[in-house]
């Protein structure tokens, strides 16, 4: 008759409806995505590989945003700042300190994570709208910092910074574009595995409990402050890493690369892809990179109007985003198959 045993059944009821994941079926989807991603290395070339690398990098960034805003309820309109920090950290490590790219990217993730923790502390006091505004201010301020006289020797100031060339993995028969893409894909696999694992267990439930009902979470002995700070840190780590990957793909960083619109773009991508979904981040990344190309055929000045229209459409028609749509379709097929 302990409190724990009487809470357990309730906790399972309150837990979010995790999709029924049994054994091998749960691995089929990730395995398929990895296979498709790997196949792209040899099916695509040049420009397409650049697009693919950017899609995967943005997917990691949106994954970070989903973790913080979707799963933990801390709305951030400033994730562009973390992209900027990650991108610049990678550029500076590679060009000023000669650090190889495969080491620079994880390091920049750690640097951004530290910044994330620092931001998380005052963020604990802010709720919803105020947090969104404060993070937006961060998104505006951080790229400007790169122009500051004190650091412009390191950051390249207004003209930006070129990254050194990547040496291709010629032993595997890959050229530079393929190398960058495969490296980005490998980092993505690790990042997604990390997050899926994190969200599946106690940590995921704690984060969502904090989002849904912080007071109740506190009374269930969940350390709200710790989890909120940790969520910020991990989110920053992911988005910073994505910033580093983006910097490598473009081989250039500048304050203009991280204009404050980027933060809004990430949020739109997260919503369209599926706000509370890990795999939705992939849809979101694809949306951000590919939509402007399609919009150009309608009207060359169109992208922002279409971003807005898509966001409204998604809110009305499929609030769980594209991922929610796919999941609903899968569930409908499953029930039909039985």
């Amino acid at each position: 008759m302990t409190i724990t045993s009487s809470i357990h059944p309730d906790a399972r009821v309150l837990a979010p409806a995790a999709p029924a994941r049994g054994g091998s079926a749960a691995l089929a989807l990730p395995a398929l995505l990895i296979l498709a991603g790997a196949a792209a290395t040899f099916l695509f070339s040049g420009y397409q590989l650049l697009l693919a690398a950017n899609i995967v990098a943005y997917a990691i960034a949106i994954l970070g945003l989903n973790l913080l805003a979707g799963y933990n309820g801390q709305i951030s309109l400033g994730h562009g700042a973390f992209l900027a920090i990650g991108g610049y950290a990678t550029a500076i490590l590679m060009s000023r300190f000669g650090v190889p790219y495969w080491l620079a990217v994880p390091l920049c993730g750690l640097v951004t994570m530290v910044v994330g923790f620092l931001v998380a502390i005052p963020a604990l006091r802010l709720e919803m709208l105020y947090l969104a505004l404060a993070t937006f201010a961060l998104a505006v301020a951080v790229p400007q910092l790169a122009k500051n006289k004190l650091v412009s020797g390191w950051t390249g100031g207004v003209d930006g910074l070129s990254l050194p060339r990547i040496r291709p993995w010629s032993a595997l028969g890959l050229d530079v574009d393929q190398t960058v893409y495969v490296y980005t894909l490998l980092v993505a696999i690790v990042a997604f595995a990390l997050v899926v694992n994190l969200l599946r267990g106690r940590v995921g439930r704690a984060l969502e409990a904090i989002r849904d009902h912080p007071v109740a979470a506190e009374t269930m002995a969940i350390d709200v402050r710790f989890f909120k700070t940790a969520a910020f840190g991990v989110s920053a780590f992911l988005t910073g890493t994505a910033g580093g990957l983006g910097a490598i793909a473009t081989a250039f960083v500048s304050p203009d690369s991280y204009a404050f619109f980027l933060s809004i773009t990430l949020m739109v991508g997260a919503v369209v892809g599926g706000f509370r979904s890990v795999y939705g981040a992939l849809f979101g990344g694809a949306f951000i990179v590919l939509m402007p190309n399609y919009a150009e055929r309608l009207s060359q000045g169109a992208p922002w109007a279409i971003y807005g229209a898509c966001t409204i459409l998604v809110m009305l028609v499929m609030p769980s985003g594209l991922a929610g749509l796919v999941r609903a379709a899968i569930d409908r097929w499953r029930t039909r198959a039985r």
């Binding site: 995505l33 498709a36 693919a52 400007q144 003209d159 473009t250 250039f252 203009d256 619109f261």
Partner: protein, 395 residues
């Protein structure tokens, strides 16, 4: 089945990314007997969209040339893609222009950061990046490292240098102060001003900067006033220029030097006060189509006619004049290449352009050599007389 649906979605996306079938093999990339494909990128969307007037006027000029039969029998086809002034997107679109659209060369890319981002790829791919719309020093300083890339307009530092030299020559003993926007244009102008002033004494007393998001520059102006300077150089955007002119001409009234983005009578000087701006100096290279001084100029009349016919809806302003002049340079280059439109020859011919462009100021001529590849470097001094800018007579 559900897995197949996701696979289907993925493969459709993949198919969407695949390029169209390659066009029939041609001797020179992007060139056929009837057409030459030319690529460009610019901010067609987003906050910097007004700059894309330049690309659109280049396109209008090409269309007017095509209507008259093209160049050596070939139509000039400009393929313009949007990059939203975002360097990562510029790289994507530039690669699309080269690999998917298969253009001969890329021209008139707007912006320093976007152009510099695309520079390395274009040089690696040996595709000419001609006449980039950016005044950054890098286009001249690093031309040996990136020989396939070329700027066009005078650099921001050229304007500052012209101002500094003018002050040193005509106002010895002047005490100079400068307010500049903290971006590449402002920083470049400051650098050039210092160089132009050189050993002049006392020279530059103080430099104050501002961010484009600052609501007011009153404190900077007051700080500059306190130095006792009698010359104020300004490198500002239109909105801030109005504030700076008003504040500085209140009690201080220094001799003003303005950079070229501040000289619009309608946009800047009228709101600031025409009387206040009287006597200000600036350095320009192109004719302002809105200025009454050029109302009867045949070059401007032709420009207006071309814009009315092929550039409907576009403003007839300084950016349009820049676009028309740049477009004319491209047309001349293609003409000079004749039937050898290889990328190598295109670059070679850029070192041998000798051209008078109707929309450039008298005395400003494009004359390139292998040692001096940058097309436009000259600037002419002009003074505001209360209604329009008039050229200061050349010595």
């Amino acid at each position: 089945m559900a897995l197949t649906r996701r696979t289907f979605a993925l493969s459709t996306a993949a198919a969407a990314l695949l390029p169209r079938a390659a066009s029939a093999a041609t001797k020179f990339p992007g060139v056929t007997d009837t057409e030459i494909r030319i690529g460009s990128t610019g901010p067609l969307s987003g906050p910097a969209a007004s700059w894309s007037t330049v690309n659109k006027v280049v396109r209008a000029l090409f269309e007017s040339v095509n209507a008259a039969g093209g160049v050596n029998g070939r139509q000039l086809k400009l393929i313009l893609l949007d990059d939203g002034y975002s360097p990562p997107r510029t790289v994507e679109q530039t690669r699309k222009l080269v690999e998917v659209e298969q253009v001969s060369f890329v021209t008139a890319q707007i912006g320093s950061a976007p152009g510099l981002a695309a520079r390395r790829y274009l040089n690696d791919a040996k595709v000419p990046q001609l006449f980039a719309c950016s005044g950054a020093d890098a286009w001249i300083d690093e031309i040996r490292t990136y020989p396939w890339s070329l700027g066009w307009a005078p650099l921001y530092s050229d304007e500052g240098r012209a101002a500094g030299k003018w002050i040193a020559a005509n106002k010895p003993g002047a005490k100079v102060a400068i307010l500049y926007q903290n971006d590449e244009a402002g920083r470049g102008y400051l650098r050039g001003l210092k160089e132009g002033l050189g050993a002049a004494s006392p020279g530059l007393l103080r430099a104050e900067s501002y961010e484009s998001t600052d609501p007011s520059v009153d404190s900077q102006i007051v700080s500059l006033q306190s130095t006792g300077a009698d010359v104020l150089a300004l490198s500002c955007n239109p909105k801030t220029s109005v504030q700076a002119i008003r504040k500085s001409q209140d009690t201080w009234r220094p001799q003003m030097f303005m950079n070229s983005s501040m000289t619009s009578v309608a946009q800047v000087l009228t709101p600031a006060g025409l009387e206040r701006a009287k006597g200000a100096l600036s350095f320009a290279f192109a004719k302002d189509p809105t200025s009454p001084a050029w109302a009867n100029d045949p070059g401007v009349r032709d420009f207006n006619a071309m814009m009315d016919k092929f550039g409907a809806g576009l403003p007839h302003d300084a950016l349009a004049a820049l676009g028309a002049s740049l477009g004319a340079t491209v047309v001349q280059l293609v003409r000079q290449c004749g039937n050898d439109l290889s990328r190598e020859n295109l670059v070679k011919q850029t070192m041998a352009i000798d051209l008078d462009v109707p929309m450039l100021l008298p005395g400003v001529r494009i004359h390139t050599t292998p040692q001096n590849r940058h097309p436009v470097r000259e600037l002419r001094a002009q003074r505001f007389d209360g209604t329009s800018w008039t050229l200061v007579a050349q010595k």
